[in-house]
Symmetry: C2
Subunit: 395 residues, 2 copies
C-alpha cells in the first residue's frame, strides 16, 4: 500500500472523534482522513467543513480513498456501506457489533469474493485486543471456553449495586447521568450488546458462525435488592457474562446471563466500565485480558490499530473456520443457576432438572439448581415479564 | 513456505518435550520435528533414537530444515546456535531469555542482514502473548509503562509467604520440592530472570535496547518475617515486579524490585506460578494480561505459536525501534520505597532524599520515603550482604 493512506470515515460521533484525535496525536502511524460522511446537517462539527460530506458516494466512489472506516449507529445502513465498500475493492474497518453479529456470513463471503480485508477489533471489548489475540496467537490452540465482561454499561451499573448498595434503578439513573448508559438502555441492560460481541468472538475462537437469535440473552433488568443482598452475603459480585463453550462432542453453546462471581476469579476485580475476557485453552491454560471496554480514545485506538494493520496488508485468516474446529451449535445443555421467583407456580413453568437449594420466605423465594438452557429460552418472555431473576453459578 | 515444515530442535527438556506434545496434539498446524540435538548421551529420551543427534551441525547444515527451535539451557551455546542458524538463512524460534537479554543488538542485526526472522514469545511471560501484543497491537500506541509479574518461581514463593505465613526459607524449600524452583534458585530469587524478560519487553514496548547490566535487580532473598507481617497488616501482597517506564523527557528507566501491591491492583490477584503484565497506554488506558508464566505445555504452546507465525512469513517489525520512540536509558529517578534496615548507620550509607515514615523498635526498623534509584544501585552489594529489604511502593 501507499506510504500515507487516505481514509474515508463514516460517522463522527464518540468513536469517530476519538479516532480523529488519536490519529492526529500518534507519533508513529500517518494517515489522512480525507472525507467524513455524516447524516445530520444541523450538528456543528469540530473539523473544517471541507472534510464533511452528506453523500456516502463521495467516499465510496472516490478511487483515492484506500480504506473505509465505518463508525455509524445504524446497523443496517452500516451494512450497506460496508458491503458496498468491500465490493468496490476497498478495505474496511468497522466497530459496529450489531451489524457484524447479524451479517457475519455475508461479510466473510464478501471478503473472500473480492479479496479484501475487513477488520473490526473495536467491535468487541474496546481496547482489549481479543480478536487479534484469538486470530494470531491462539490460532493453533484448541480453546475450551471464552467468557468475560463484554459490556461496560452493565458492569458500571452492577458495580454500583454491589459496591455502593444502590438499587438497580438508581444505579441505572446514575449511569445515564454520567453518560455510561443511553436514554434507552435496552441494548445494554438486556444483554444484546454483550451477545453481539459473543457472536463475533465465537467466530474467531471456535470458527463457527452462530446466528445471534439462537443465543439466549437475559440481562439485568430483573435484578432486585434481594438478589443484590444474596450475592453480597455470599461474597459474590454480579456481572453480566456471555459464555461461549465447546462441549465434549465438539458442538458449541453460548448464552448471556448474569453471573455470581466469586473472589477467586479475575473477573471479580473487573469493575466499573472496564471489560475483561477470559480464554480457557487446552495447552496454555487460562488466559485473562483486561482493558477499557469503551470510550472515545480507547476505541479510537483500537480502530487505529486496525487501520495500521491494514496498511501492512493484514487480514483475518479465520483459520478455525476453514479448519472446521466446531461442528454445530446447541442449546441442549444443563446449567447451574440461582433463580429468584414469585410464586410456586413459576417453578411449574420453569422446570428444573435438579434443585439443590430451596429458600422460601415472606420476602422472597429462590432455588439453586440445574436447568436445561432450552427451558430458560422457552420461558424467556415469562421470566422477563415477571421480573424473575436468573443468575448463572459455576458448578 | 512449504505446507509442512521441518523443524530442527535443540534441547529436549521441559519446554522441548512440551512443544513435542503440543505439536502432536494440535488439530490445526502440522510440522515435523526432523531432528533433535541434545547434549547428554546418557539420558533416556521418550522419542525414537533416529530423531536424536549429538552433533549440532546435523541440524545447522541440513538444507531440508526450515526452522531451528532453540530450547537449551546454556545461554552462550544457544547464542552460537541461533546466530549460526540465522547466518545460514534459517528462521529461528527461541525461548532463551538470558541469551536474548545479552545479545539483543546482535540478534536484531543478524535478522536484518540475513533477512530472516527470529521469534521468541516463549521467552517472556510463558503463555501470555505479550511481545506479539506489543508488536502488533500497540505498535501505534505511545506506551507509558510496562510492569508485572514476569517470574513464576518468586511469585509462587511470595504467595506462600503471605497466604500461608511461611517464612521465605520454608517457602523456597517447598517451591524446590514441587519443582517450581531450581536447586540453585539465584537466577529467579535475585531477580535476574525477571530482569532479562524486562529487557526483552522494553525493546518491543519502547524500541530501546537496554543493556541488562544497567538495570538494577534486587530480589527477595532479604525478605524477613517482619516485612511479611508489615505487608500483611497493611493489606498488601508482596510481588517481585520489573517496571519499565517512559519518563517525561522520553528517556526510559527500568528496575526490578519487590513491590507492595494493594488490593485495587489486578496484580494483587495474580498468585502462585501465574504471570501478569500491565501495560499503560496513552490512548487505550491500562491493559492487563494474565496467564501461566511457565510450564511444559503453556511454554510449548507459545513456541508453537511462533513456529506457526513463521510459517506465515511473520517477523517482528521492531517499529518503535526504527521510529526511535525512546531517546536513552537513565537510572536518575526518584522512587518511593519501604526499607527495613539494621542499624542507623545503614541510613548514612543508603541516603534517602526524603523520609516520610520512620519506625524504630527493639525488633526491627524501617523507613518509607524517596530515594534516588542510583543510590540503591551504588549500595546494592551492601544491601544484599546485610539482608536489608527494600520494597517499592507506588506514590
Amino acid at each position: 500500500m501507499k506510504s500515507k493512506l487516505n481514509i474515508g470515515l463514516f460517522g463522527f460521533g464518540v468513536v469517530g472523534q476519538g479516532l480523529h484525535y488519536v490519529l492526529n496525536n500518534s507519533t508513529g502511524f500517518k494517515a489522512n482522513i480525507t472525507k467524513i460522511a455524516v447524516k445530520n446537517k444541523e450538528k456543528k462539527r469540530p473539523v473544517g467543513a471541507e472534510l464533511i460530506t452528506y453523500d456516502k458516494w463521495e467516499i465510496l466512489n472516490n478511487p483515492e480513498i484506500d480504506i473505509v472506516v465505518e463508525l455509524i449507529d445504524d446497523a443496517e445502513e452500516a451494512f450497506n456501506i460496508v458491503s458496498e465498500a468491500l465490493k468496490k475493492g476497498k478495505h474496511v474497518v468497522t466497530a459496529n457489533k450489531k451489524m457484524l453479529a447479524f451479517h457475519l456470513q455475508e461479510l466473510y463471503d464478501l471478503q473472500q469474493k473480492h479479496n479484501v480485508s475487513l477488520l473490526y477489533e473495536g467491535s468487541a471489548c474496546g481496547s482489549i485486543p481479543i480478536i487479534r489475540t484469538l486470530e494470531e496467537y491462539f490460532d493453533n490452540e484448541e480453546l475450551l471456553k471464552v467468557s468475560g465482561i463484554f459490556n461496560g454499561t452493565t458492569n458500571y451499573i452492577l458495580t454500583k449495586t454491589i459496591n455502593e448498595k444502590l438499587s438497580y434503578e438508581n444505579a441505572l439513573k446514575q449511569a445515564q447521568e454520567k453518560g455510561f448508559a443511553e436514554s434507552d438502555p435496552t441494548n445494554d441492560v438486556e444483554g444484546y450488546d454483550a451477545k453481539f460481541k459473543a457472536v463475533i468472538i465465537a467466530f474467531h475462537a471456535f470458527g463457527l458462525i452462530i446466528k445471534q437469535e439462537q443465543v439466549l440473552n437475559i440481562g439485568i433488568t430483573g435484578l432486585h435488592e434481594n438478589d443484590i443482598r444474596y450475592a453480597y452475603e455470599k461474597g459474590f459480585k454480579i456481572k453480566l457474562i456471555p459464555i461461549i463453550k465447546r462441549l465434549p462432542d465438539n458442538r458449541i453453546n453460548a448464552f448471556v446471563l448474569p453471573q455470581f462471581i466469586s473472589k477467586t476469579k479475575q473477573l471479580y476485580n473487573v469493575d466499573n466500565e472496564f471489560n475483561g475476557a477470559s480464554v480457557d485453552c487446552k495447552f496454555s491454560g487460562e488466559q485473562f485480558l483486561q482493558g477499557r471496554g469503551a470510550g472515545s480514545y480507547p476505541t479510537g485506538a483500537a480502530v487505529l490499530s486496525d487501520i495500521s494493520a491494514l496498511s501492512h496488508g493484514y487480514r483475518y485468516e479465520y483459520k478455525k473456520h476453514t479448519q472446521k474446529h466446531a461442528s454445530d451449535f446447541t442449546n441442549d445443555v444443563i446449567i447451574n443457576v440461582y433463580m429468584r421467583y414469585n410464586t410456586s407456580s413459576d417453578l411449574d413453568k420453569i422446570k428444573f432438572e435438579l434443585i439443590n437449594e430451596t429458600f422460601i420466605s415472606d420476602k422472597y423465594n429462590y432455588v439453586v439448581g440445574n436447568i436445561n438452557l432450552q427451558t430458560v429460552i422457552t420461558q424467556r418472555e415469562f421470566i422477563l415479564k415477571n421480573k424473575i431473576f436468573i443468575s448463572f453459578l459455576e458448578m
